[in-house]
Every structure is written in structure tokens, then in C-alpha cells.
């Protein structure tokens, strides 16, 4: 089956500034795909290219127009700190924003849209928060609201930008388990962008290491090796295993 997204020898950047050079990879339906790399390495640039907000300087980026007879929609979950709401929008109102595109110009949301909003809230286990103000929620609750809003768009691909950044351990695991559930139970294609290596090491199936001169794509075990990570971060990094989980330790002895 043709991939949903395909980069063919694509060079990405802004004006004359090249951020990622000659990259090729594909994301297929049902993938759980991670993008990892240091801050400023080009993850956001890659994301913008996937979302169609950035045209490649060279090469091609193909995004399939439709899937299963439906237009291909992205459910985008931004970094929650990028939302600075002074106005006390309720959770219901925030999630309804995910329906605005479908509602269309000059129309008000209908009962069907309200039902989809309720269903999305139920899906991420926060239906009881529908009347709360978004700005007054905890970080984990806000993240669930933003995921619910993305689900309300009825997406083919869910894209999450640093979803666990700045969260305490239990909230972080809870969000990662929720994303895994959406992937496993709903067969949703997921793209997870993060700088936290543990998030991708133990959750995603395929991963891209994003760095200007070191772009690698493949299965987690092939890509997240001590050698690759040590090259990427320019420091010794050790990949250990504990109770079936991968642990990535900075400062370990390279190769041991």
C-alpha cells in the first residue's frame, strides 16, 4: 500500500538556510512513528513539511490526499505551553474548535458536532471535565483536552509535538499510555515528536533521528543504538534494558 507521507531526497530549510539535507523516508498507515533529536535539530521543520506549511527546497514531499475514501486529515496536538489563554474557554469549547473546519464558514456547530466532541472527551477519559475552564487544568489534563480536540477532527494521522514535556512522571506515563491505546485499539497512525529519548524508546515502533548531518530512520532497535545516540549527542550514551523496558543513560561508557 502506498505510504501516507513520503519524503524523496527532500531538502528542507528556510530561504538559503538548509536545515535537513536530502532525506528520504515514508510513514505508512498504522505506523507509530517517533521523531527524536536535540533542540534546534530540525524536528519542527520536518513537522512543518509534513503538515504542508513548508515546501521542500529540493526533492519532493508527498502527502496522500485521501485515505479510505476520506480526505486525509491531521489531528495536530501542539505543545501545550504554546497556548496562553487569558479567556476562560471551557474544555467543551476548546474541543469544539476541532470541529470548526467541518462546521464550515458562516455556520454554527450542530448536534452532530457536539456528539463528536462528547465522544472525543470520553475517548481520553475526561468527559467529566467538559465544563471546566481549560486554563485552570493541570498539565496532564490540558494535554488530554488537546488530544481530544485533535480526535474531534476525525484524523487519519495524529501528530503530537512534545506531548510530555515538563510533566511529572505519572502524568507522562499516563499520556504515553493514552497515545499507545489510540494507536493499538483505534489503529491510528501516530507521529510523536519529542526530545525525550525514553518516550520514543519504549513506545513507538519506528523512529527517525533528526539532525542536520545525521538523519537516520528505521525500527527502534536498529536506530536507537548506543553508537547512533552517542554520535547524535556527542557524548557517551548507554542503552540498557530493565524488565523489558529500554533505559537510555547519558554518560555511560561507550560500547559497554
Amino acid at each position: 500500500m502506498a505510504p501516507l507521507i513520503e519524503f524523496q531526497n527532500a531538502t528542507l530549510g528556510y530561504g538559503r538556510k538548509v536545515v535537513l539535507h536530502d532525506i528520504s523516508f515514508a510513514i505508512h498507515a498504522g505506523d507509530y512513528f517517533g521523531m527524536v533529536g536535540p533542540n534546534g535539530a530540525g524536528k519542527t521543520t520536518l513537522l512543518r513539511a509534513i503538515l504542508g506549511a513548508l515546501k521542500p527546497l529540493a526533492g519532493e514531499v508527498h502527502v496522500r490526499a485521501e485515505t479510505s475514501g476520506e480526505p486525509l486529515r491531521f489531528g495536530y496536538v501542539p505543545q501545550r505551553d504554546s497556548i496562553d489563554s487569558i479567556l476562560p474557554y471551557t474544555v467543551q469549547e476548546v474541543v469544539m474548535m476541532g470541529r470548526y473546519r467541518e462546521v464550515g464558514l458562516l455556520r454554527s456547530p450542530r448536534q452532530k458536532d457536539s456528539d463528536i466532541v462528547r465522544e472525543s472527551l470520553r475517548h481520553v477519559d475526561i468527559e467529566d471535565l467538559h465544563n471546566f475552564a481549560f486554563r485552570e487544568l493541570s498539565g496532564g489534563q490540558k494535554q488530554r483536552v488537546l488530544i481530544a480536540r485533535a480526535l474531534a477532527t476525525k484524523p487519519a494521522i495524529l501528530i503530537l509535538d512534545e506531548p510530555t514535556n515538563g510533566m511529572d512522571l505519572s502524568s507522562r506515563i499516563s499520556i504515553l499510555e493514552l497515545i499507545r491505546k489510540l494507536h493499538d485499539e483505534d489503529q491510528m497512525t501516530v507521529i510523536l515528536v519529542t526530545h525525550l529519548l525514553d518516550d520514543v524508546a519504549n513506545y513507538v515502533k519506528r523512529v527517525a533521528i533528526v539532525e542536520r548531518n545525521f538523519f537516520q530512520v528505521g525500527n527502534v532497535d536498529e536506530v536507537l543504538t548506543e553508537e547512533n545516540l552517542s554520535t547524535l549527542y556527542q557524548m557517551p550514551i548507554q542503552v540498557a534494558h530493565l524488565n523489558g523496558s529500554k533505559l537510555i543513560l547519558a554518560g555511560g561508557v561507550r560500547g559497554k
Binding site: F74, Y76, P78, I83, S85, I86, L87, M97, Y100
Partner: protein
């Protein structure tokens, strides 16, 4: 003069002042909620000064434009230039706005030095907005702006809401964030330019900030914030004009003082609720 006589005098002799200040109050209070929410309050202050500069320029003998048109053109040009300058990363936004603010005031003073058409006090009155002498023409222009601005905002409420809350995600869903931002600021520029000509900079800037703040203090729902803000935007000119007549105050400052008193009441109510 008794209270009923004051009311009758205002209604009979100054209907355009009364209705004009109400529609400006209402409209600025509505737009102000977005302006406060977007954290661009200083932009409101800057645009009022730019529109005053536009008015001042129309007093130059070489300028063939009417006061309204001159103010509008200069404010629109400023919005377009600011939309480019404010997205740059080299210079902070508030520094750009600060520059435009002080530049507008400085140039206005220089321009007024070179005008000989009318008395300086007359010009200053016009620049400050003399509510009591609002002409029917100016009132109907303002009414048209009010209807147009409210219609666009009500028809495209979803777009303005989404872009002001989360422009990045709205963009991924096909909403042209830059376009809607520009529509918002162009409408704001038209409203501010027309309203400043009619009621002055103090009134306009005051109503972009004070009623929305009261709404934010009192309400826990977004729709209620808009309603409270617009209610204060409507009541303050009514009460302010009455008090200006009764105690012989200048009208614009009296109206802004009433709005400020209502804000103080809102703040007190908010504190009492928390206690």
C-alpha cells in the same frame, strides 16, 4: 439644571453625541476583549495615537484628504507596516510599538506647528474628540463601521476565536492564520481611526481596555465576559454624559472615569467573592 432637564437636553440637543458614544463604547468594549486576550493592549494605544497623527496630517495645507479619510489611511498603513515589523525576531514587539507610539506623538506636534488653517485649540479639540459636537455625517460613518465590524465578527466568530486561542493548530486545519489576523487588525484599525476622530483617543483606548478588564474580573465564561464588557461599554457613556452635564466636566474624561469606577466595583466584587 435638574436631572430630568439634563436628560431631556442631552436627548434633544446632543442625540448624536449620546448615540455615537454608545456605539463607540459598545464596539470598543467588544473588540477590546480580543485585544486584551491577545496581549496586544499596547497596540491599541499605538493605533489611537497613529490615528490622531492621521487627523493632524489632514490639517496641513498640502493634504487634500478629509479628516476621517486621512486618519483612516494613516492607521491602515500603520497596521500593514506593523504586521510585518511585529513578526520579526531581531527586535522585540514592544520596542517596535514603543517606537511607533513616540514617533506618532512627535510627528503630530511637528505637524501642528506648521498648520495655520485654524486655531491650535480648535485642532486640539478635534484631536481629543469633542463628543458634544459630533456631526450627523460622522455619526452615520461610525454607525456603518459599527454594523460592518460587528457583522464580520459575528459571522466569522469561529475563525476569530480559534485564531486568537491557538493560531498554530488552526493553521494545520486549513485556517489561514495570517489572513484572519490581518482581517482582525484591519477592522480594529478602521474602528479605532473612525472612533478616535469622533470621540478622541482617551475614550477609545480607555474602552479597549477598561470594560474587558471588568468582564474578565466578573465572569467565568467567555460569552459572559463579552456581555459584561459590552454592557459597561453601553452604560458608561450614558452615565458619563449625564455627569459631565451635571457637574460641568469634559465629556470624554467623565465617561472614562465612570467606566473606571465600574471597573473598581468589579474588582471589589471579585475580591469579595474570593474572601
Amino acid at each position: 439644571m435638574g436631572n430630568s432637564e439634563i436628560i431631556i437636553t442631552i436627548l434633544r440637543e446632543f442625540p448624536y453625541a449620546l448615540y455615537g458614544s454608545i456605539i463607540v463604547g459598545l464596539l470598543c468594549a467588544f473588540l477590546g476583549v480580543y485585544i486584551v486576550a491577545k496581549r496586544v493592549v499596547f497596540l491599541g494605544a499605538v493605533l489611537t495615537q497613529v490615528s490622531v497623527l492621521g487627523l493632524a496630517i489632514t490639517f496641513l495645507p498640502i493634504t487634500p484628504l478629509s479628516h476621517s479619510l486621512g486618519s483612516l489611511i494613516v492607521t491602515l498603513i500603520a497596521v500593514i507596516i506593523l504586521s510585518r515589523l511585529l513578526t520579526g525576531k531581531k527586535i522585540p514587539r514592544d520596542a517596535v510599538l514603543g517606537f511607533v507610539f513616540v514617533f506618532s506623538i512627535a510627528v503630530r506636534i511637528l505637524v501642528l506647528q506648521k498648520t495655520e488653517q485654524v486655531e491650535t485649540s480648535e485642532i486640539e479639540n478635534l484631536l481629543r474628540g469633542d463628543i458634544l459636537f459630533v456631526t450627523p455625517d460622522l455619526f452615520y460613518i461610525m454607525l456603518a463601521v459599527f454594523v460592518g465590524a460587528m457583522a464580520v465578527h459575528l459571522l466569522f466568530f469561529k475563525e476569530f476565536t480559534y485564531i486568537s486561542f491557538d493560531a498554530e493548530t488552526a493553521g494545520t486545519q486549513g485556517f489561514k492564520a495570517t489572513f484572519w489576523e490581518m482581517v482582525f487588525y484591519v477592522i480594529a484599525a478602521i474602528v479605532i481611526a473612525t472612533a478616535t476622530h469622533m470621540v478622541g483617543d482617551i475614550f477609545v483606548f480607555g474602552f479597549l481596555v477598561i470594560p474587558p478588564l471588568a468582564g474578565l474580573l466578573l465572569a467565568k465564561r467567555v460569552k459572559l465576559i463579552f456581555l459584561i464588557s459590552m454592557l459597561i461599554g453601553t452604560l458608561s457613556p450614558l452615565l458619563g454624559l449625564f455627569l459631565a452635564f451635571k457637574f460641568d466636566f469634559p465629556s470624554s474624561p467623565a465617561i472614562v472615569a465612570v467606566a473606571s469606577a465600574l471597573l473598581a466595583a468589579a474588582w471589589t466584587a471579585n475580591m469579595a467573592r474570593k474572601a
